[in-house]
């Protein structure tokens, strides 16, 4: 037991003290935020001022409506709706799609509209003229509303940047609304009635407790946790792989085995690295809590509400996944001679983790299906799938506990089996072990 502790202590102290750990711990959240927020912002951001659009209205009726829609944005101020807070950048993977979309809208909502009259010129001539203005960067695009638009005509939108989906969507929406209103007015309905009739509905979705819950936020929270488990299990698995290969390459293994049995040695190593992971998560968790406390007081950022027990489960399922997959990595490390070889050999196992991750897409939609149940009992999938179930539609406690018991029992069994391979593998040098060899080691040792 003392020896196991010595191994745990060494693994922990040596790793936590490294610059890499400090940097990763600080940069981790920054990078994670950067990876989700920055693309969203970049995507939405439209540098270089408002979008200048010329409208050729051949119907003669729609220009003012379309221009108004474009300039005011698609959301007309409504009595029911509280003014939305100024848009905050989406935070983390929990940020809803809606937020990202808004971020997009926010930054490029401004349009400068200009009407072009055909006069006695042909449409082609005007188009040519506008085309050259686009080339000169005089305008960003033009819209042609054909004469039969109110019946079944299709408007045309020519933009310099055809990939700018936000602008395209805005233009499409604006024309759509304008056409619908105009059709109603043409049918004899009063302008005010039309306005009232087109008020959007704001669907309020409620959770178990009856509180308003944000469906999209829940979806992204579940997915985010899945991704997070996936990434950290892989990351720390690699750490274990590296550690094992170091010991094999430097031949420290021989001294270690001459001092202790391989089971406590492997256990100590896994526990040591897991404590490093937990330390890092603890720091991140504390930072997250501090951040949300700060956010709650005055800032407009609203983070999805997560029950504290979910964090406990998160930690437990992370550990379960970590111990299962890291054990595999340790065995792989003992069988190979270089990290690259290790990566290749670990591939099939990593694919299991990937499978678990993809299963979670289905499980998010049907958290209580038979598939979801079995997927969350299978120890190689459970770290991701069960967690996703917990976040979406918490299964009965016995299922969670059963999943944990199966998972940890599997981990212990694997470590036991692995330690036998490990012992032989670590002393073999110079070549990669084959599977039949490994089977023999298990029987022999």
């Amino acid at each position: 037991m003392k020896k196991l502790f010595a191994v745990v202590k060494r693994e922990y102290v040596q790793r936590v003290r490294t610059k890499f750990f400090v940097i990763a711990t600080i940069l981790g959240p920054v990078l994670m935020g950067a990876f989700t927020v920055v693309p969203a912002l970049m995507f939405g951001m439209k540098s270089g001022g408002p979008t200048r659009v010329v409208i050729i209205d051949q119907t003669g009726k729609l220009y003012s409506r379309v221009a108004r829609e474009l300039q005011t944005g698609r959301e007309r101020p409504s009595k029911r709706e509280t003014p939305r807070p100024p848009l905050q950048p989406a935070v983390g993977p929990g940020a809803s799609r809606e937020q990202i979309k808004q971020a997009g809208r926010m930054t490029e909502a401004s349009f400068v509209i200009e009407e072009a009259h055909l006069g006695d010129r042909s449409l082609e001539e005007v188009k040519k003229d506008l085309e050259s203005r686009i080339q000169r960067h005089d305008i960003d695009g033009y819209v042609i509303l054909p004469p039969d638009l109110l019946k079944d005509g299709r408007p045309e939108f020519r933009a310099r940047n055809a990939a700018d989906v936000f602008t395209r969507e805005n233009v499409e929406n604006a024309i759509g609304k304008a056409v619908r209103s105009q059709r109603l007015v043409d049918a004899g309905i009063k302008e005010e009635a039309v306005q009232q009739a087109s008020e959007p509905v704001d669907l309020k979705s409620v959770g178990e407790t009856g509180q308003e819950s944000k469906g999209e936020a829940g979806f992204f929270l579940a997915l985010g946790m899945g991704i997070w488990i996936y990434m950290s299990v892989l990351l720390y698995g690699q750490v274990v792989l590296g550690a094992v290969i170091e010991e094999k390459e430097t031949r420290i293994a021989e001294i270690l085995f001459s001092s202790m049995r391989s089971f406590p040695l492997m256990m100590g190593k896994l526990i040591g690295v897991s404590l490093v992971a937990l330390t890092q998560m603890g720091i991140w968790g504390a930072a997250f809590l501090a951040f949300s406390a700060w956010a709650a007081g005055g800032s407009s950022i609203n983070l999805p509400h997560v029950a504290p027990i979910v964090f406990v489960y998160l930690g437990m399922f992370f550990l379960m996944g970590y111990f299962i997959y890291s054990t595999v990595y340790a065995v792989v490390g003992s069988m190979v001679t270089t990290t690259q070889e290790g990566g290749q050999l670990a591939m099939p196992v990593v694919l299991m983790l990937v499978a678990g991750f993809f299963l979670s897409f289905n499980i998010i939609r049907n958290p209580n299906s038979t598939l979801a149940f079995w997927a969350s009992m299978f120890p190689f999938f459970a770290p991701i799938t069960m967690l996703v179930r917990i976040v979406t539609e918490t299964p009965p406690l016995w299922q969670i506990l059963l999943s944990l018991v199966i998972g940890f029992a599997t981990a212990i069994g694997l470590i036991w089996l692995a330690s036998r391979i490990y012992r032989v593998g670590m002393l073999m040098t110079g070549k990669k072990a084959t599977i039949p060899e490994v089977m023999r080691w298990i029987r022999q040792s």
Partner: protein, 304 residues
């Protein structure tokens, strides 16, 4: 005969890996207060034998007893092991490293610190305690590795090629340390393929070749039993008497020397006396003891 009980006993141990026999029916006894040489060429089975002694591997057949008990994991703490392939954590500081290996051998706390300081001083490494291991020269790393094998004051110390990579000064330090340990009644197994080193340090030797033991016993006795009754000579004058077939079996030139092999039972004293009487000027007269190398070659030829 030596009365003391053997520290280590190997009873007919064998180990095979697939089709390959690494060690075959090896038996030996290692006594305290002596340096036991385990010698043989590379690939003879020395390392496998050692790995079985330190309980990294278990023999397929046969048994190993240490201090009168069958080998167990608990007994591992009574052994100190310097493997041929050195292994240290490159990024750890020397002090921490030693502390870790001491803890692995169940030496902890102040006791461990005291021993670390003592050994670092003894091997002239005190200034390097706070340095990272990778900053040390190869020879220094080797000495650190040596400390890891003695830090827990083991009864049995197994040194696999302890001198490789050391400069002459450090070789002497290492030799002195080994002999000092021997004099405190520790048991030392020295594994090497360098016969000259074994010759200088070992009290007992066991030679293995191709997984088999070919020779085992006290070094002095072995050498005596292999004595070929030869004399190395340098002299000036008439050498006619060397042609006496009753005394000399054969002669050959070895560098400056004339090596004279006497007939079986021939007495070197008789040769010396007759040389003096014949009036030649003798500048060298030396009994040729066979080297371990010679003995080994002879033994291997015999088996083959």
């Amino acid at each position: 005969m030596d009365e003391s009980k053997p520290t280590l006993v190997l009873n007919h141990i064998s180990k095979t890996f697939g089709d390959f026999t690494a060690v075959s029916d090896l038996s030996l006894q290692v006594k305290p207060g002596r340096v036991f040489g385990l010698i043989g060429p590379n690939g003879a089975g020395k390392t496998t034998t050692i790995r079985m002694i330190v309980n990294i591997m278990v023999p397929d057949t046969g048994s190993i007893e240490l201090l009168g008990q069958r080998m167990t994991n608990a007994l591992q703490d009574r052994i100190g092991y310097l493997p041929e392939e050195r292994g240290l954590y490159k990024k750890m500081k020397v002090g921490e490293q030693l502390r870790f290996f001491a803890e692995l051998k169940d030496v902890t706390g102040k006791e461990a610190d005291a021993r670390i300081d003592k050994w670092l001083a003894k091997l002239q490494l005190s200034d390097w305690k706070e340095k990272r291991t990778k900053e040390l020269s190869k020879g220094m790393q080797q000495k650190v590795q040596f400390i890891t094998s003695v830090i827990h004051d083991p009864d049995l110390l197994i040194l696999d090629e302890p001198f490789s990579g050391l400069d002459p000064v450090n070789v002497d330090i290492m030799k002195d340390t080994i002999l000092e340990l021997r004099n405190t009644n520790k048991t030392i197994i020295l594994s090497t393929h360098q016969m000259e080193i074994a010759e200088k340090l070992c009290d007992d030797v066991c030679m293995i070749n191709r997984s088999h033991k070919v020779l085992d016993g006290k070094l002095r006795e072995i050498r005596r039993s292999f004595s070929r009754n030869a004399v190395a000579l340098q002299f000036e004058g008439e050498d006619g008497l060397l042609n006496d077939p009753e005394l000399v079996a054969s002669m050959r030139r070895v560098g400056e020397d004339l090596e004279v092999l006497l007939v079986p039972g021939g007495n070197p004293q008789t040769l010396l006396k007759r040389l003096v009487e014949s009036g030649v000027v003798i500048s060298k007269f030396e009994l040729v003891e066979p080297t371990l190398h010679d003995i080994f070659i002879e033994k291997v030829r015999e088996v083959a």
